[in-house]
Point group: C2
Chain length 359, copies 2
Amino acid sequence: MIVGIVGAGQLARMLALSGIASGQRFVFLDPAPDACAAPLGDHLCGAYDDPALLDRLAERTDAVTFEFENVPENSIEFLSGKVAAYPGVRALATARDRLREKTLFLELGIPTPAFAAVDSLKQLRRAVRDIRLPAVLKTCTLGYDGKGQYLLRKNGDLERAWERLGGVPLVLESFVNFDREVSIIAVRSRNGETAFYPLSENVHRDGILRTARSRPGDPFEQQARSYAERLLHELDYVGVMALELFQTGDKLLANEMAPRVHNTGHWTIEGAETSQFENHLRAILGLPLGGTAATGHSAMINLISELPDPAGILALPGTHLHCYAKMPRPGRKLGHVTVLAHNEHVLQVGIDQLSLLIE
Amino acid sequence: MIVGIVGAGQLARMLALSGIASGQRFVFLDPAPDACAAPLGDHLCGAYDDPALLDRLAERTDAVTFEFENVPENSIEFLSGKVAAYPGVRALATARDRLREKTLFLELGIPTPAFAAVDSLKQLRRAVRDIRLPAVLKTCTLGYDGKGQYLLRKNGDLERAWERLGGVPLVLESFVNFDREVSIIAVRSRNGETAFYPLSENVHRDGILRTARSRPGDPFEQQARSYAERLLHELDYVGVMALELFQTGDKLLANEMAPRVHNTGHWTIEGAETSQFENHLRAILGLPLGGTAATGHSAMINLISELPDPAGILALPGTHLHCYAKMPRPGRKLGHVTVLAHNEHVLQVGIDQLSLLIE
């Protein structure tokens, strides 16, 4: 089977490493000549909306997927007419647009922080009156890793936020003083089979994910599953999806969904019976899904801006190093470390030691 | 780090898939233009003893290893003068020659079936008188998957066996009516750190490995470890080694060693904390070793001659499919399936179901 991926970054790279092991081949579409997945398959180097390249991608593959949600909808729509393309256009369009996404959450009875559309400074003022401060003003599309967001603490912040972000569709969201951030990685196959990984508990700093740890048996797992399942079903979804949630008290509030394999699921490579990458490929190729149970306790720590000495990392018990072969740059995700342990306590010690080495 | 591998078959391919994940790059030397690991790195296409290619391999890499023991000793000796090359020449030379290997077993107090060198029909007759029948006549070098062997059941077989194999150095070995075949995968790093996987219990048919299952907690594990450890130490070994043994009653008899990652260790990809491939790379690159504990119960079933329908395989619980992207050919290993289970009973059911699908 030949799989096409729109995008050839680290997510495409990890998909390819998983798929090549089971005999699949890969074709990537990515404008960057040095895209880090490119050496693992054929690389169509050009724009994500280049019709000739999209044609070639469709012609040469049995199924197509994408590694990030900032792919133009039209590209996936175009591909869908020619080849099995998953997850579908509606999932992509929903995840690309925060307003549409949050509206869907409401429709499906999935609790989410209060929000309002903002297209003018006047609308922003009205939204702030309704939602109250603190609140976060976000661009509806193209935000990632904390970019395209502005935290409003007091009324005096409104004009500055509008100056910074105004001119594109925006959404104002109530700021949630959460107890913790969690996510659930879910997967649905072509024939409607679903599976759910244990919750990930996630820590962000400066808008960038730092650590994600598996929480098998978490008391909120069932709630998160139920929300993810509604989305999978409603969107007739095929592939892996991540749903990020805030826990406040005894409630989960949906923050956002990602229609793809997700950074908070990287621990599944060593820490689950089947990795999120293998299951995404099984799903889009119409194959039965693999088990999603955790094989122990594990966590993932991102390597950002620079790579540490591998020997120091691997000297810590239970560690596995992943590097994406990307040029170092401040704020760039260059790799991650998985740490495995037999219980939560040993895992915490491992996370603490790793954090010391990496900071 | 850039790793050179002499040979670009499925073992090199699985090494590369593991190493690429942690940021390593690969250069392969293999005469086959369509060698299955070649797309995962740079391919020097030519003879294993081509001095110009060996030079290039050494110049372009930080460490060199080999994926099978039929590499000419001189090639590894040549490489050793220019780059870190592991496991060393002595390990290779020992494993390439059954007589040398068995002599080393004896020297190290590792029990092995009775054997004798055979260079003439007269010597064969004398050896048969000493060792008795049944016995197996084997070429000292270049045997694999049951090739280069002749089982002697009665005295009338001697001339025919001599006709078939004579003319190269031979060894006659007592035929062991074993209770089971096991192997131990061991690893030693550059600084002398060692680690041992749980025993594999192996089933061969027609000289080709069919299944290998992990046996965590096997009562013979300590005995096997002790024998493997003597070899690692004596050979100043670096990398993964497999030692195959026969169990007869309460004894283990060493059959042969392989100075490389090994088919009976493929279950470690999903079934152990660190795969044999990752640990081999860590060892030869001077990095700390990863944990070798089994994460559950697992088995590996080889896919030989033809590949089954992936959907049928993956519909069985706990299965993972590996394909080597090789052209099908009778008797050729094309891939394997790993099956994971929470206990021995469920594992046995999985093995039985898989065997039905594959046969």
